[in-house]
């Protein structure tokens, strides 16, 4: 059993990095995810279909294409990348932040879908009732809408996290496969499979990967059930 637990420092780093990247990707996607889901669920505007298509693009494009588009846009010479680096000092290319961006973008459609469905299930009449009690739209959102969509929010966040844990194509295309910086679990597994005698390492990381994903799934189930019991909607 020793070979299973005896992780090399690089392997540990890959595990830690993957969790960090997935967590940051999930948290950073939540605010825009909620906003876009809200707009798609409730908005009536020209170009809604276009926005919907754009959000879903990473789901249907080959991940390598998404990664390459990110490289073109957020790379050092890309328009958004150059702007962010110059004004905010945020650099994506060949950094773990770039891996987080790639993972966030790949998981975004899944997150938006889950949140959008839960927003569409909210009874707007209940929100109107809160309005007649004196709550302005922002308060209504914070005290009524947000708690009511919490199960969908959790589901969306976990989907995004799980997607980020497994993201490979876009990440490796955008930020390459640099140990200790952008080498997430899938990249590390891939690297092991490319070298002779790497089977044990690949298997170790594969098992870890399974454990983390299962843990995330169980955590979301428990959380969703607790929230569901608290709400107890008929």
């Amino acid at each position: 059993m020793n070979w299973l637990l005896d992780l090399a420092p690089d392997e540990w780093n890959a595990v830690r990095l993957s969790i960090k990247v997935a967590t940051v990707a999930m948290i950073a996607s939540l605010p825009p995810g909620i906003l876009i889901a809200l707009v798609l669920a409730r908005g009536q505007f020209w170009g809604k279909t276009l926005l919907n298509g754009l959000v879903h693009l990473p789901l249907i494009l080959p991940p390598v294409v998404t990664g390459y588009l990110l490289l073109l846009t957020f790379g050092k010479r890309g328009p958004a990348g150059a702007f962010l680096a110059e004004h905010f000092g945020i650099v994506f290319s060949f950094r773990w932040t770039g891996a987080a961006l790639a993972c966030g973008v790949m998981g975004f459609p899944l997150m938006v879908r889950a949140i959008r469905l839960s927003i569409e299930a909210v009874d707007r009449k209940i929100e109107a009732a809160a309005g007649t009690l004196g709550a302005n739209p922002l308060w209504v959102f914070g005290t009524i809408t947000l708690p009511l969509i919490l199960p969908g929010l959790i589901a969306g966040a976990i989907l995004s996290f799980a997607k980020a844990m497994g993201e490979f194509g876009a990440t490796i295309t955008f930020v390459s496969n640099i140990p200790n910086e952008t080498q997430t679990l899938p990249s590390a597994i891939y690297t092991f499979t490319q070298v002779p005698g790497g089977d044990a390492g690949a298997l170790r990381l594969t098992l870890i990967s399974i454990v983390i994903s299962m843990a995330a799934l169980v955590a979301s189930e428990v959380l969703a059930r607790r929230v569901g019991r608290r709400m107890d909607i008929e």
Partner: protein, 370 residues
Amino acid sequence: MTVQVDISHRLGDFTVNARFESAGRLTALFGPSGSGKTTLINLIAGLIRPDKGRIAAEGRVLVDSDAGLFVPKHKRRIGMVFQDARLFPHMSVASNLRYGRWFTPAAERYADINGVVELLGIGHLLDRRPAKLSGGEKQRVAIGRALLASPKLLLMDEPLASLDEGRKAEILPYIERLRDETKIPIVYVSHSIAEVARLASDVVVLMQGKVAASGPTGAIMQRLDLLPAEERGEGGAVLDTAVLRHDEAFGMTVLGSLAGEIRVPLLATPVGAPVRVRIRARDVMIATEQPVGLSALNILPGTIVAIEPGEGPTVEIGLDCNGATVLARITEQSRQTLGLRLGRQVFAVVKTVSFDRANTGAGLPAEADE
């Protein structure tokens, strides 16, 4: 002036074009379904924006399309009780009740949580979730929630329509207490004559989006022509009376009215308290002489002041009983046989058992008739 409405609003191919004013303690917006009642109350609450017109409540202009004024719903301080309670499912009853308080400026909070909980009898529900409440309990909590926002005007949109008869009977006394014990003017939407006759001080009758009539309840209820066909059988006179005495031995209460003494099944109301009774026109018989050997206990002398053709074989007879109006629905055949005509002295006969619980409710205290 409590409420002034003068609006025109289009919904698809239906247009609401209504103008009314009311200063009553409980103004009923009454009419058949599809007459625009709910649209009107939603306009007052600010849930919809009228195409054109002006709405003022409690001296404050809420909507004036000419001036481009529209006060959003959360700034109106108008409470609303919906037909489908609309409680917040993720909060306890206590949190539901307290919700509106957060948004009421401290200086304008007049509603006291203990008082409201006591008024509505919901103390034992505070820790529960809305999903665990019965329909009647939900509606009482919804009323309490609206009250605790300390509104300047309370709107109720068919609050009893989705409840069965038993639950209705459970809530009606609370609405009467609300009307009589709080100072908040109420606008109450209903298509039920029983509710309107029992609760309203004033009635605005709506038909096809227009105001067909408005005025004090007693006067409006006599006009059977205003009632929708399916409710016409429920139409009749509304009399404001007071308890004279209780006859425990026979299980009856004797009420004093302008028309004379009226015996109804025993009420819990104390002697001297106001009671409002509705005498359905179909429950009234007419005798040309003082009847003898008759089981009916209420015999009210009066003069025929109106004869109107009714549905099918019926005619509607209006009697002036010493200043109170009583309506009777009889057949045209009986009218001819008895030779009933305007000005004739007759007796209205009403069985005590025709006053069921739905027909006898707390009367409005005297100052309501100022």
